[in-house]
Amino acid sequence: MTSAPPTTVEDPGAEPAPGPPRVPPAADRDRRAAWRTRRHRWDVRWSPYAFVAPFFLFFSAFGLFPLLWTGWASLHRLELTDMSRMEWTGARNYLRLLHDEFFWNALGNTFTIGVLSTVPQLLTALCLAHLLHQRLRAATFWRVALLTPYATSVAAATLVFVLLYGRDYGLINWALGLAGIDPVDWQNGTWSSRIAVSSIVVWRWTGYNALIYLAAMQAIPDELYESAALDGASRIRQFRHVTVPSLRPTILFTVVVSTIGATQLFGEPLLFGGAAGQKGGASHQFQTLGLYLYEQGWFGFHLGRASAVAWAMFLILLLVAAVGGLLARRLRADR
């Protein structure tokens, strides 16, 4: 910021001057006024850029530049053991990916676990939000209580669930045993382990999504329900024909956000896998793309390949976003 000339320092306290103000010589006053106008114009013009600059600086340094560099690195052979050496290989890293069964396995797992976690999570959240939207005692208490999992970190939550899902001494198998069901090998089974990993995601994010739906529900005008009730619609019909349609944009929003989250799934499977977590289980049965990237880069030392995985994930996300955008437009056109 430029400093003001000494005589024009603002002094709001002295505004209503009692006597006739001392008038400086005209030329001096004009010069000062012109300077003030210039300073003002300069300020109005450039301050906005100064205010948004930190965001863009940090984003360029830690978001955009790495993004491009990763793309560049993905076209090279780059090893963790000697990061100063980059050797151009063109598309070879990508071709390797396409021929690596573990990449396809990770892609499939990411998709499977994504569906297993997103669908129940959002459906449950919708029902919970519906309950929370009713006239309710201790409304705030329920909302905060449902956020407890959100405040729990991936690491803490997963470590607890590992113990709960233990095959021999886990609480869940013990409870299943009480119900007469044989113990399930949650960690080594193919589907059981995927379900277990998904359940951690569901546990952590259902309450959060319920709050998002609740916010959207509160924006629905009550008259819509009243007229539906007058038309003789039952509560369930009101939910289906008033609530859900009004929530469509929000539902789409949560679907996209959850999908992005599912694509990046990392901590839950890593810790659920224990000591060799990066493999996602003994037979890679719950290795996600995020874990595959980690394994390629930090256990196989192939940073070039890890970069290619990162870009593949990015392209998948762009695809998801594009589909989401198309859907959004369709939904808007329907109305």
């Binding site: 205010f51 984003f59 830690f62 309710l136 909302r143 607890v160 309450g207 009550d222």
Partner: protein
């Protein structure tokens, strides 16, 4: 913070056709609340036994007497004291930086006119799509180059601004900050920095507090990058817990004690500021 928390009433619309919750509704809510809270309660239960007791059926359902011992072991073996200190520092810095930078940018996008405003705002929103995986490899190379391994700035700097925060502050200020107020200040001769200090910041304070809490929680729980960038020598809580879980200490009761220690500070935040966090998430959601 001396904000009168209990004075903020929960607005509840009394009018209209919203049904009152019946007993069944409460039963479902109790069930879900139990599902949300019980795993954490059981963490404390498991942390209060010794490891041999955890390897028995039926699993312990009530507290034992070993909690203090396990907490002590977790504290010393997993470097948890240092980890808690580090995480507090990191999350504090990230929250402060996010609030400051996002308020400035949000104000500019909400109330100031400048060339390219809409395009730049679109870029901000677009950056939310960029997954953290894309920056891991170059950031790791950079950290190695600079010799920043195990330094806290490694995990602070990349998350110091957030597109969500900019958007959140913008949406809040668009409505909460009357344009006339800024104009009046300008007529009185205030330059932009004075406007920010004396008009914007007082109005934005509630949203800043919420954004600060959300960023703090998020930074505290941040996992992917810290696990790659830091080692057990100077960990954040999440890195330390990862070390515990991956077999540095095979004692499950100790692992649970560590998980408990790493979660308690945030549960405290939630207990104290829960309704504000809830409000913030809901406000961010409607507009986002």
């Amino acid at each position: 913070m001396p904000v009168p928390l209990s004075a903020t009433p929960v607005t509840r619309a009394r009018a209209g056709g919203r049904p009152r919750t019946g007993p069944l509704g409460y039963a479902v809510l109790v069930l879900f609340t139990a599902g949300s809270v019980l795993p954490l309660v059981w963490t404390a239960v498991a942390a209060s036994h010794d490891n041999t007791r955890l390897a028995h059926t039926p699993p312990p359902l009530w507290f034992g007497g070993n909690l203090a011992h396990n907490l002590g072991v977790a504290w010393s073996d997993a470097n948890l004291g240092l980890a808690l200190l580090n995480t507090t520092l990191v999350a504090g810095c990230v929250a402060l930086g996010t609030v400051l930078f996002c308020t400035l940018a949000g104000f500019a996008f909400a109330k100031l006119r400048f060339r390219g405003r809409n395009a730049l705002l679109a870029v901000v929103v677009g950056t939310m799509m960029v997954p953290p995986q894309l920056s891991v490899v170059p950031l790791f190379a950079l950290v190695a180059e600079l010799g920043w391994t195990d330094r806290l700035q490694t995990v602070v700097l990349p998350t110091l601004v957030s597109a969500f925060g900019v958007f959140f502050m913008r949406q809040y200020l668009v409505e909460a900050l009357p344009t006339e107020l800024i104009e009046a200040a300008r007529v009185d001769g205030a330059d932009s920095l004075r406007v920010v200090r004396h008009v914007v910041l007082p109005v934005a304070r509630p949203a800043m507090a919420v954004l600060g809490m959300l960023s703090f929680v998020q930074s505290w729980n941040d996992f992917f990058w810290p696990v790659i960038a830091l080692t057990q020598d100077n960990p954040t809580v999440q890195v330390a817990l990862t070390g515990l879980g991956r077999g540095y200490v095979p004692d499950q009761a100790v692992v649970m004690a560590g998980a408990l220690l790493g979660t308690l500070p945030l549960l405290l935040v939630l207990a104290l500021f829960g309704r504000h966090i809830v409000g913030g998430i809901m406000r961010g959601a409607v507009k986002g």
